[in-house]
Symmetry: C2
Subunit: 232 residues, 2 copies
């Protein structure tokens, strides 16, 4: 049995939780507060990044990039049915398009929105050294403007294709869902302005792989009512 060390509102952890569930790989979970930098966790992954996957054979794979490519190389646990048979499907050009979009969400969206929004709106409530700091309203306003640009791009992609990178569900969808589900937990996603993106998100949110994410809660920071509503 594999063990995934994650944090419930870490977008990278969420993308890998979705990937493991889509591939129907059995896994146990341990949770780590990413801002604690516990020595035991840093011994496992000196970068301090989540998630970390420990395989049953003891092999340690760290970070969503290495884990997703590792999972992309192994065979699915069960015969393909409605599940994504692989996270990076298609020929090498199709895989390059998937990776371009993974980079978009795990790189650009994280840098321009998610990382700082989580710090300002979630970590600031949970991390003792940040609790006394007032939220930076100018920064939050700028991040919301950035988010609209990204939602517009997701809307555009979902309007052109069945899934974000093409005909098949891929790790690009799971990376996008990792970030947008965290932002949705904070009530930050103006879905009403991006109807095609919302239709895509409803579809991915309705998959069995998504259910565990919808029951996640952070003490003292409740999600908006629509967070776990499949017909939001």
């Amino acid at each position: 049995m594999s063990l995934l060390t994650h944090y419930r509102l870490c977008p990278f952890s969420r993308s890998i939780r979705l990937a493991l569930a889509e591939l129907q790989l059995p896994v146990e979970f341990a949770e780590e507060l990413p801002w604690e930098w516990r020595p035991e966790f840093l011994a496992l992954n000196p970068s301090g990044d989540l998630p970390v996957l420990i395989r049953g054979n003891g092999v340690i794979i760290t970070g969503s990039y290495a884990i997703s490519e590792y999972l992309g190389e192994i065979e699915p646990h069960t015969p393909p049915d409605e599940i994504a048979t692989t996270l990076f499907s298609g020929d090498n050009t199709a895989r390059a398009e998937i990776r371009r979009l993974v980079d978009w969400f795990h790189g650009k969206l994280d840098r321009e929105v998610t990382r700082e929004m989580l710090r300002e709106r979630l970590h600031s409530r949970l991390r003792s050294e940040l609790v006394s700091q007032a939220p930076d309203v100018d920064l939050i306003r700028a991040l919301r403007t950035n988010l609209r640009y990204h939602l517009s791009y997701v809307n555009h992609l979902a309007d052109q294709r069945r899934w974000l990178a093409g005909d098949a569900l891929s790790f690009a969808d799971l990376a996008a869902a990792g970030h947008l589900s965290c932002l949705d937990y904070l009530g930050e996603v103006p879905w009403e302005s991006y109807p095609v993106a919302r239709e895509w998100y409803q579809r991915i949110k309705s998959r069995p792989s998504f259910r565990p994410l919808l029951v996640d809660r952070c003490p003292g920071v409740p999600p908006p009512p629509h967070y776990d509503d499949l017909d939001f």
Copy 2:
């Protein structure tokens, strides 16, 4: 013939220039100023990130993640000799270790040092809208402290292994070299304090793939004398 759109002091572009040269893939180059956001370039890559590879068959591959994995999947152009036969060699555990380190350099080192150091010390001299701004000396001091932590880690890796991810040269070395060579151009790398990291850098700097990087110059921002010295 492929065409690589790059910027001479972009660490991601440099890692791919090194990869193409190590694989001995014939390629032509076009340069793009990453801060100009030209509409023609954004039509090629809406994220605005460099580099972008256009294959001879017209296929467009954007960003160092997608390009490096794409190059990792194709066969080397010439029979292997002293060249890296592949950017991600070994079994899936070895590849995961390479990707962990690529993520370290292209993710963590970029976020904690390179991105802001290039902005403060290079773009501020070249971008008209930044020229009038005074350098943020507190920020630069913090980035230098961060860099020492990263150099210590490179020193540690190079002390344990022949190349950073294991016995073979891999894309992890090229990613690290992309960042450290930009920082070295700015005279920011205190090599004397990290002798094993310096020995590793001397080795990679002496490879034929590195030569084009050593003749790069930015008008008005000359490198220190040791930048292109193989025995620095």
